[in-house]
């Protein structure tokens, strides 16, 4: 099965019953599978007039209580940012599956890239939480899409899953979990009577229960800064507290959201920090290097945002160097440098030519480390 197809089936496993999208290479297969599968289970598929409209329909649908998915790629992600911000401030769960292709603008529609990771965090204006997952295999794409829905429902915030084009179009064997084998989380519904309901009632914690439109609860949703009852406000202390809470939902729960793999990191002198398809080259490179007596390891990001700053800082204290191979001009390397307090140099291998980083490049870079 292909990565994009796995994403669609992962979404179905997670209980997704709504898809809104717009055709775009290289993610269209997700939409195609959903158009086949959703009506079979009474779900809804809609192809909207543009990427902005797809993101809007997604949020509208989610407000009726359903789990909703869209898929896109770079140019579409740029357009969706307006309403991704809307989902952040209104705290409406939804999942955005974005296949990374070359950019900026139309770039290389069929070429792989990893250059949307900063867009996942800073693409929409204003302060807001960001969760971004970066799977490296077809199996992991399936599982990370399920996790994306779980995190989105649990924290009432949009979650992005961002494979690069190689992972999205790669075909691998996949083992489907049995129903119940992987936990599926649903948003917390309100327990108070409709008359008492407030959509942002923090007496229930940082993630207040979300009622569904059409379920007996009536409430107001707005993209303006809002009070706990959902109505707009410009009161300084309320706006400050609400903005901080929205970001804190993710920051205070980083341990639950972050996920990574450490491969031969324990005794490593050189640690390759990689994600997506690049991590496959990195793993191979680490194996080759070990055979040649180089103590190399790999730190593989599975969650890109929030970034595992603390763990990388810890590792930085005992390594000679980090290597950051990525299909962009140093986005991950920049974030890495920002959290390791200068403890070790970060050597970059940055490709934006539509070709993957190959293992030889990584091994060669290891040999530059003194």
């Amino acid at each position: 099965m292909q990565g994009n197809e796995a994403a669609a089936f992962g979404a179905l496993y997670a209980g997704c019953t709504f898809f809104a999208g717009y055709p775009i290479t290289p993610s269209t297969e997700v939409a195609e599978v959903m158009s086949v599968e959703l009506p079979k289970i009474g779900g809804k598929f809609i192809q909207m007039e543009d990427e902005i409209g797809a993101m809007a329909a997604l949020i509208g649908a989610s407000l009726t209580g359903v789990k909703a998915l869209t898929s896109t790629s770079g140019p579409g992600l740029s357009l969706k940012q307006e309403n991704i911000g809307y989902a952040c401030i209104t705290e409406v769960p939804c999942v955005v599956f974005n296949v990374m292709r070359g950019g900026p603008s139309t770039g290389m529609p069929t070429g792989p890239s990893q250059s949307d990771v900063m867009c996942a965090k800073w693409g929409t204006h204003g302060d807001h939480p960001a969760i971004c997952l970066v799977p490296a295999s077809v199996q992991e794409t399936y599982e990370e899409v399920i996790r994306a829905f779980n995190l989105s429902e649990k924290y009432r915030t949009p979650v992005m899953v961002m494979p690069d084009e190689i992972v999205a179009h790669m075909r691998e064997r996949i083992v489907f979990p049995e129903p119940g084998e992987i936990e599926v989380i649903n948003r917390t519904a309100p327990t108070v009577a409709p008359a008492q309901y407030k959509p942002y009632d923090t007496s229930f914690g940082d993630v207040p229960p979300l009622a569904a439109f059409g379920s007996g609860y009536k409430f107001h949703v707005t993209g303006l800064n809002k009070m706990q009852d959902g109505f707009p406000t410009t009161k300084a202390e309320i706006v400050q507290a609400e903005e901080e809470r929205q970001v804190r939902k993710v920051e205070a729960n980083k341990a639950d959201i972050m996920k990574w793999e450490e491969y031969m990191v324990d005794d490593a002198d050189i640690v390759v920090v990689a994600f997506g398809s690049t991590s496959r080259s990195a793993r191979y490179a680490v194996n080759v290097a070990r055979e040649q007596g180089i103590k190399a390891g790999m730190f593989r990001l599975i969650t890109f945002w929030p970034f595992p700053e603390e763990r990388l800082l810890e590792i930085s204290k005992k390594v000679k160097a980090f290597i950051s191979p990525e299909m962009n001009l140093g986005m991950c390397a920049g974030v890495l440098k920002g959290c390791i307090e200068g403890n070790a140099p970060v050597l970059g291998i940055f490709r934006v030519d539509g070709e993957p980083v190959n293992p030889e490049q990584i091994v060669d870079k290891m040999k530059e480390v003194k």
């Binding site: 009506p39 809804k44 909703a68």
Partner: protein, 273 residues
């Protein structure tokens, strides 16, 4: 006994933000009378808007209300209606929100013929941002960004809706207040995408730049230009020069409604499984 508007207004949410003399309040009262006459259920009614003065209307209504991003009301509402077709979905907004930044969503909602009602309050201007010209500002008129007169041709919003495939299109004015609820009742009852354009006024940002001395003068203009469709049938082209048709302009009952069509897709998919 006078009509009780308060039962549809959210407690504590008035006064509204609209300027004295603005027609949006007249439209909101018309909408309230309409949904009251139809006995819609508050919990089952979604009122969706974009950005602008008119788009603040949902906040005052005691229903499921969704104040979205600029121009996107139709797209958000489409998501709500698709996911929960049993809900009554009403869109409200202004001319700039609906036909400029939201033009694409507007025409595609018309094309799909999805069962929702869109009330467009056309005051010919972007009011909230201080009076810039919109796609509905008449050519030659003044706005804060057309100080020498508007060079742009304008949309006929009702014709745009008909051309794009809406199956119920009506036009009223803020002057003809008693007609507004009747048009909205018909629009909501219609199975398909319904558009009700209400010609409105913005004395603050449009009227004063275009030599209207008072709100009354603006209201009188609406009275003068409006010609009911029936009356227009007996008038010559010359007599209709500068007039605007009001009433139900278009009604088509054979075009399939979108959510009903999608229900058939579900049936076909289940049968093929």
């Amino acid at each position: 006994m006078s009509f009780d508007y308060d039962k549809w207004i959210r407690p504590g949410k008035l006064p509204h933000i609209w300027c004295p003399g603005c027609g949006h309040g007249i439209v909101m009262k018309g909408l309230i009378r309409a949904i009251d006459a139809l006995q819609l259920k508050k919990e089952n009614t979604a009122i969706v808007s974009g950005i602008g003065c008119a788009s603040r209307l949902p906040g005052y209504m005691d229903c499921c209300t969704l104040h979205t991003a600029h121009g996107r009301a139709a797209a958000f509402a489409t998501g709500v209606k698709m996911a929960k077709p049993e809900m009554d979905v009403i869109l409200v907004g202004g001319d700039g929100d609906g036909t400029a930044i939201g033009g694409n969503h507007f025409i595609h909602a018309c094309r799909r013929n999805i069962d929702m009602t869109y009330i467009i309050m056309n005051n010919y201007i972007y009011g909230m941002t201080g009076g810039q010209f919109s796609p509905a500002t008449p050519t030659g008129h003044k706005a804060s960004t057309t100080p020498y007169g508007n060079p742009d041709p304008c949309f006929d919003i009702a014709k745009l809706a008909i051309g794009a495939g809406a199956t119920f299109v009506a036009r009223g004015t803020a002057y003809h207040a008693a007609q507004i609820d009747k048009l909205i009742v018909e629009a909501i009852k219609h199975k398909g995408f319904s558009v009700v354009e209400i010609l409105d006024d913005c004395p603050t940002t449009y009227g004063r730049r275009n030599k209207y001395k008072s709100v009354i003068e603006m209201m009188n203009r609406l009275k003068e230009v409006a010609v009911p469709v029936k009356a227009a049938e007996k008038m010559t082209a010359e007599q209709l020069q500068g007039k605007v048709l009001t009433g139900v302009l278009y009604k088509e009952e054979t075009k399939p409604e979108y959510t009903a069509e999608y229900a058939k897709v579900i049936e076909r998919a289940k049968a093929a499984k």
